[in-house]
Each structure stands twice: as C-alpha cells, then as structure tokens.
C-alpha cells in the first residue's frame, strides 16, 4: 500500500546507439558486462532514487574500483564530471570516467547500504544494496561481502566539516542521469537502492534504468544545470572560442554552464597574471548572460529593477549595478547597456535574471520584451595596458560612433563596429582592474576573432588567461564575485557597492529596505592586507586584536604578486571598518594561529582606478 505515487516522467531520449538496456526494479540489483569505451547511462526514472555501482576488471574480476585510490588521485572527495572525473582501481588504473551528470549531488563514495544499517534500526532481514550485489555477483564467482564500496549515485549524503556523515532526500529529478565511460572491459553491478526507511529515496524505492551505448558514440562532456525550479535542464556548453582554447590547454572546468580554461599549458597562473598587468591577455567570458530589454517600458523596467539611475545613460553608455529584491538583497550584479531609447541590454551572470525581470514587468504591467541573447553573443575580454594598442589597428567603429576611436572611447562606453573586419560590440569594461575592452561577437565569428586578436597581439606578448589568474586579479581590484561577496541576502552596502545604488531615484525595488540598511549595514566589505605571506581562505573569521569574538569573515583572498602581499576581501562590522584598523584573521580553528591584518581600501591594487581609466 503505497500512498504517495510518483508518475514516471518522460525519459530523456537516448544519447547514442543503445547496445543494451536494463531495467532495475526498486530495491533490486543487476549485473552486466560492458566493453572498454562503451558508455553507461544510469537513469533515475522517477527521481529521488539512489543507485549504487560496483565494477570489476580482469579475467577473474579481481580488480575493482577503490574509493581511497579514486579520492586520492582526483584530489576530491568524489569525482566530478569533467576532465578529471574518473574512478580508479586499487592498482590505480582508470575504470570509469564521468562524462555527463545532470544531478550534481551524489554521495561521498562510501558503502552501499548494508544489512547492518537496517538491523541497527530494527529491520533485521531488510534487503540491502550490498546483499543484492552479493546475489547478482555470486554467479561470477565473486565472494560475498557484508558491505560493498560502491559509487553511490544520486545518494544525498555528505561528510560535514566535523567529519559527521549527514544524509537527506536525494536531489535527483525524474530523468536525471549520470553517464560514464568504461575505460576497460568491465563487469558492473547496479542497484536501485532498497532503502525505504528514511528519506534518501523519498521513502519509496523506484526503478533505475541502465542504457549502454556503443563505444563509437560521440557524447560530449557536460554537467546539467537548472537555472530555476521550472527551467529546463541545460548541459554545459563550449563557447565560440573553446575550439581555439582547447588547442592551448586541456585544463577546462565547468563554470556557470560553460567550459572555461583554468590556466594554459606552459603558462599558468603567475605567467598569465603578469601578462595581464604588464602586457595584455585574452579571456573567454562567454558564460556571462545577456538579455535584450526592448519596448515602450524598457527604461521603466530597468529603472525599477536595476540599482543605478538608468535615466543618466545615453546611447553608447553603460553602467555597473545590481538587480535587487524587495529586502535589498542582490539578485545579481551586471551591466546595463543603453542601445537606444527603447532598447537596453543587461549583461549579468544568471539565466534566471530574465525570469526575474519578466516577473517584475508582469507585476507592473509593463509593455516590454525580455529576450535572452546569450546564444547570439559570445564575448572575449582583452585586458591589460597594451590592449588598446592591439585593438587600434584592427578596429573600425560604425558611422554613428565614428567621432570616437578606440583611443578615446571612454570608460563604461561602448560602440559597434568591426575588429579585423568581424562585426563586434566593443565595450570599455572589464573585470581585472586594468585598462581593457570586452568584445561581443556572434558565435559564428568567434574563432576568427580569437585568431585575429592572438595574431595581432603576438608581437607585444598577448597571452590567453584562465580563470585562476582572473580570480587573483579581481580580488586585487576589489571586484565582487557572486557567492563570495554577495548573494540574495547581501545588500549592496554590505557587499561594498553602496556607490552603485542610486538612492535619489524616486523608487526602485528594495529602496525602502536599503534606506534603513544604509544607516547601519550589519557588515561592510573592506580590503585587508595581511602580515606575512600566508593566504587566508574564504570563511575564515576576523577578530579584533587579542579578542576571541568575531567581527567578520573573509570572503575572498589571494597573494598579490604586484603588491607582494597577502590580501583579502572581508565583510566586517562597521565599527571595525575604519582604514588602518588592525584586526586578526583566524587560521586553522581561529584560535591556534592569528595573523594580523590591516583594514585598507576595497581595491588593494590601484584603488583610484587610474589604470582602468587611463
């Protein structure tokens, strides 16, 4: 008698030529063989259902996946989808590689559930994944075990900071899947977890579907993300520049739905950083989300939803600010471009920004169209003191911007035109604290633009730069990162961008709350310069000198090569935010070791922004 019935959703279409398909009823397990190179798709049919996997190689199945080796070689508590998401055997041989993952929340590679777990809770004899594995592996001569080390997909358990293992309802939705690629001929066993006595399977074991695809299938690596509760699943994408980037590095990571380079082969974080500060670098920032806001009420919508005074923007101007919620929290930060009296463009970080703007527009009955255009505009940033020099010979502005040239395009202004005869929108903005430009281009022209810039910049030492060096540069420049310096519980006054709130506007979302918060924000963002070379970590606590109690936390930290100092961004109580105040950053547990730090400007490097304005 099951009183909560989940209806199976429509299963996702096969990803390639299916060579075998296995249905695993809830609470059971199966064993099956795959050949090296074949893909194994583990589908959660109804959602919220864990599936454990064990795999064996060798003629006698003597070699099996090993959690300790896997964790150690990956440097992660569990493998992730991407270039390093592999499971290894005790002999350190790769067994399975993660190719796609649409759930992103799995177990920490512990044990499959065991009879002992159920016995301890008063269910002697309850089926367990380990016992189910014993049954299906017995015909292959594999000796039974009371508990199998297994890959626990969709199993929502985690090891907390204290070492405690916590669990909860699985996050997988109907049709979510993990796609693995066999690195060797394998015997696999998969379960549909039998646990119905706690929330991990939603109290109700449901089926798991296994699809095996032929080795010749060409399935890209990807992670599935959902921008909001109702948004469709979106798999990681390459940008228009990824083919060129992949010729220079294979250190790509998933970032906000795109594959982006962490660093480049034979260069690395230091080299790329100094190229930015001394010459010029090229960055792929296509993961930014772009939305065209058009119509009679386009201005009214942005004036209501965006923190800056949009009425001050003329065509060709842009402004950095944030979208706010009614309690003054930052929904997202971004830049509004004024493309025309009835045409604006918002460039931010989240697909859900469009959903938010649409909701505001609907509530206000605005006549406005919000059109995502991220798929039509990928963007490169060319940043560094020589960026203008590189662009100079390549750039031609359209007639309406012709009075301007690349040499006198002001900060936070943009123009349309061509670079190396490729149509682009050129914006004098960036995220590095250096003079620089962002180039928005149709993806069809992405490769040509990359090649043209790299060729033109080669004589002066232009290099590509990855995300690791970018993070260091933006911390030096005191620039915010979503999830670090702000979220939707953080006001602009706490995040350090109170200057980006136009309180003189008649009204905007969050104004009433911000009027109160502005008087005394619970914390304010400051820059810290630490004594010594040790780099702080996000989340470490900040204390007054000699005191145990806290006045704030570190949000981001890095070693600044150009300052030769350890620096950090921190959010601290206003009483301790005065420049020159000496505080202490707590290392280890906050008590064992304290490092003195002095409150300074938010941007430790070039606080007057003289370089970006040059």
């Amino acid at each position: 008698m099951l009183l909560e019935t989940k209806q199976p959703d429509i299963l996702p279409s096969p990803l390639g030529q299916v060579v075998a398909e296995y249905w695993i009823e809830g609470g059971t397990a199966i064993a099956y063989s795959v050949k090296a190179g074949q893909y194994i798709q583990i589908l959660d049919v109804e959602g919220c259902q864990c599936s454990d996997l064990v795999a064996f190689a060798g003629e006698q199945y003597q070699e099996e996946i090993d959690p300790t080796v896997t964790r150690t070689l990956n440097g992660l508590s569990m493998p992730i989808a991407g270039l390093h998401g592999k499971y290894f055997s005790q002999k350190m041989q790769p067994m399975l590689e993660v190719i796609q993952d649409t759930c992103n929340r799995h177990d920490s590679f512990l044990l499959a559930c065991t009879a002992r777990y159920y016995e301890d809770l008063g269910y002697p004899g309850h089926p367990s994944c380990s016992d189910n594995f014993n049954q299906v592996l017995q015909p292959y001569g594999i000796a039974p075990r009371p508990g199998w080390s297994a890959i626990n997909f969709f199993y929502n358990t985690a090891v907390e900071e204290t070492g405690v293992i916590a669990g909860g309802e699985a996050w997988s939705r109907p049709g979510d899947y993990v796609l693995l690629r066999a690195q060797r001929d394998l015997l696999c066993a998969n379960s549909s977890c039998a646990d119905d006595i706690d929330p991990v399977n939603g109290w109700n074991p449901t089926p798991i579907l296994i699809r095996v695809y032929e080795a010749e299938a060409d399935i890209p690596r990807a992670i599935g993300r959902r921008a909001s509760a109702t948004a469709p699943l979106r798999l990681t994408q390459p940008s228009a520049f990824t083919p060129q980037i992949q010729q220079l590095t294979n250190n790509l990571v998933e970032y906000n739905g795109f594959w982006v380079p962490n660093s480049f082969t034979n260069h690395g974080i230091q080299d790329e950083y100094w190229a930015l500060r001394e010459r010029a670098v090229l960055l792929d920032l296509s993961a930014l989300r772009k939305f065209d806001v058009t119509g009679k009420d386009a201005f009214s919508l942005l004036q209501l939803a965006f923190s800056r005074d949009v009425s001050k923007l003329k065509v060709g101007q842009s402004a950095y600010g944030c979208l706010l919620n009614p309690h003054g929290g930052i929904v997202d930060d971004g830049i509004v471009f004024c493309l025309g009296e009835l045409h604006y463009r918002y460039v931010g970080n989240c697909d859900s920004d469009a959903e938010w703007l649409t909701r505001v527009a609907t509530q206000q009955s605005f006549e406005v169209e919000i059109q995502p255009c991220s798929h039509l505009l990928h963007n490169l940033a060319i940043q560094g003191p020589l960026s203008r020099q590189i662009l100079r010979s390549l750039t031609h502005f359209d007639p309406q911007f012709a009075p301007l040239t690349i040499d006198d395009l002001p900060y936070f202004h943009f123009a349309t035109g061509t670079v190396a005869n490729i149509p682009v929108l050129i914006s004098r903005t960036g995220y590095t604290g250096e003079l620089g430009y962002e180039l928005f281009v149709h993806p069809d022209h992405g490769i040509a633009l990359w090649d043209a810039l790299m060729t033109a910049g080669a004589p002066v030492g232009l290099q590509p730069m990855g995300m690791l060096a970018l993070d260091r540069a933006r911390i030096e420049a005191g620039l915010l990162a979503a999830g670090r310096e702000f979220d939707d519980l953080t006001s602009p006054y706490q995040a350090g961008i109170g200057w980006a709130v136009a309180m003189k506007k008649p009204d905007f979302i969050g104004k009433a709350a911000l009027e109160k918060i502005r008087e005394h924000p619970p914390r304010v963002t400051v820059g810290l310069v630490l004594e010594g070379n040790e780099v702080a970590a996000g989340g470490q606590c900040v204390h007054p000198s000699g005191e145990r109690w806290r006045v704030g936390t570190i949000t981001s930290a890095a070693f600044s090569p150009i300052l030769n100092r350890s620096i950090a961004l921190a959010q601290i109580t206003p009483e301790y935010a005065e420049p020159g105040t000496v505080l202490e950053v707590g290392f280890v547990d906050g008590m064992v070791r304290r490092v003195r730090a002095t409150v300074g400007t938010l941007a430790a490097y070039d606080p007057t922004k003289s370089r970006v304005r040059s």
């Binding site: 009183l3 909560e4 016995e119 008063g122 002697p124 004899g125 119905d196 006595i197 109290w203």
Partner: protein, 177 residues
C-alpha cells in the same frame, strides 16, 4: 517449556514524512511520547495491539486482530498522507515461550551497544545478534501478559529456532540439576 510461536502476518510497518501524524491519529498522543525502540500497548477498534517506534517517523504495529480490518483502518487515515504501510514479506515475529526470560535470552543473544539485554526494560526493544543472526528483541506487554518477541528475517528462522532449541535444552538440564 513450550515452543516459540512464529507469526508471519502480525506485523505492520508504517513510515514516511507523515508517519508520526498518522500514528497519532490512529493511536493517540502516546505515539509521540515514546522514543525510538520504546513501545506501548493500546487498543484499536477494541482490538489490542502494541506500538513500537523505530525511528522518528517509523513505527511497527503488532496487531492481534484481523489483518484486513487494520488494513482498511490504515487506508482511511493514510489517504493523502506521505507514508507507506507495509507487511514486510521477509520479516517474521517469533514469540518466545513464557519460561524463557530476558536473562536467559541474553545468554545467547548479544545486544548492540548501547543496548543491554539483561537490563532491557518492559516496552523496550533492542537490536541484537544470536550467533550470526540479526534479531530485534522486543520486550512488551500483550493482553496484560509479559511477552518476549523476536523479529527476524524469514530466512533466518530455521537457524534461530535451532539456537533457541539448544538454549532450551541447556535450560532444562540446568533445571534437572
């Protein structure tokens, strides 16, 4: 000494997010007063039953009436509730003879710490092992009579009965001496 009686259809398990609320509706606030591995005796529709709590929201009902009666009553209160109600086909209840007390049982059964069988109070349960077999030992009152009950997997039953038989033989020898 009489033989243990084995029952395969007297136990009903109920679990889920709304498990406690359903139990309170059926059996009263007493369900909320007991901790996991504690139990109490009550009546439902004038039929005696015992309620054992296993987790925050998981309960086991020992029902002495017609199974169909309980099933229909459970149906009536679990509608629209996020719970399941099952009779596990692999789980059996073994009611030990009255002349085998908890002290004697503790000579062959080892409770999992922090539980202790010799000190197991009435209306309490404890997970334990008899040799390699896993059992749940439940000491409770059933129709005013003190009962010692074991829950175990059906496939363990034969071995369990052998172990209990050996215990009984030892006991008889001890009495004869």
């Amino acid at each position: 000494m009489s033989n243990p009686s084995v029952h395969t259809n007297l136990l009903w398990d109920i679990a889920g997010i709304d498990g406690l609320q359903v139990m309170k509706t059926l059996f009263g606030d007493g369900c909320d007063r007991i901790a996991p591995f504690q139990s109490f005796e009550t009546e439902l529709d004038h039929t005696p039953c015992s309620i054992l709590r296993l987790c925050e929201s998981n309960f086991r009902i020992r029902w002495l009436g017609e199974p169909n009666d309980l099933e229909s009553m459970l149906h009536s209160v679990t509608k629209d509730q996020r719970v399941w109600v099952k009779q596990f086909p692999w789980l059996v209840s073994v009611q030990l003879p009255h002349d085998l007390d908890i002290v004697q049982l503790s000579q062959i059964a080892i409770a999992k710490p922090p539980f202790s069988l010799p000190s197991l109070a009435s209306n309490c349960a404890a997970p334990a092992r008899i040799e390699t077999l896993s059992v749940l030992v439940w000491r409770h009152t059933l129709q005013t009579s003190e009962t010692l009950e074991l829950h175990t997997a059906k496939h363990s039953l034969e071995t369990l009965e052998q172990s209990l038989s050996m215990q009984r033989s030892s006991l008889l020898e001890a009495i004869a001496l």
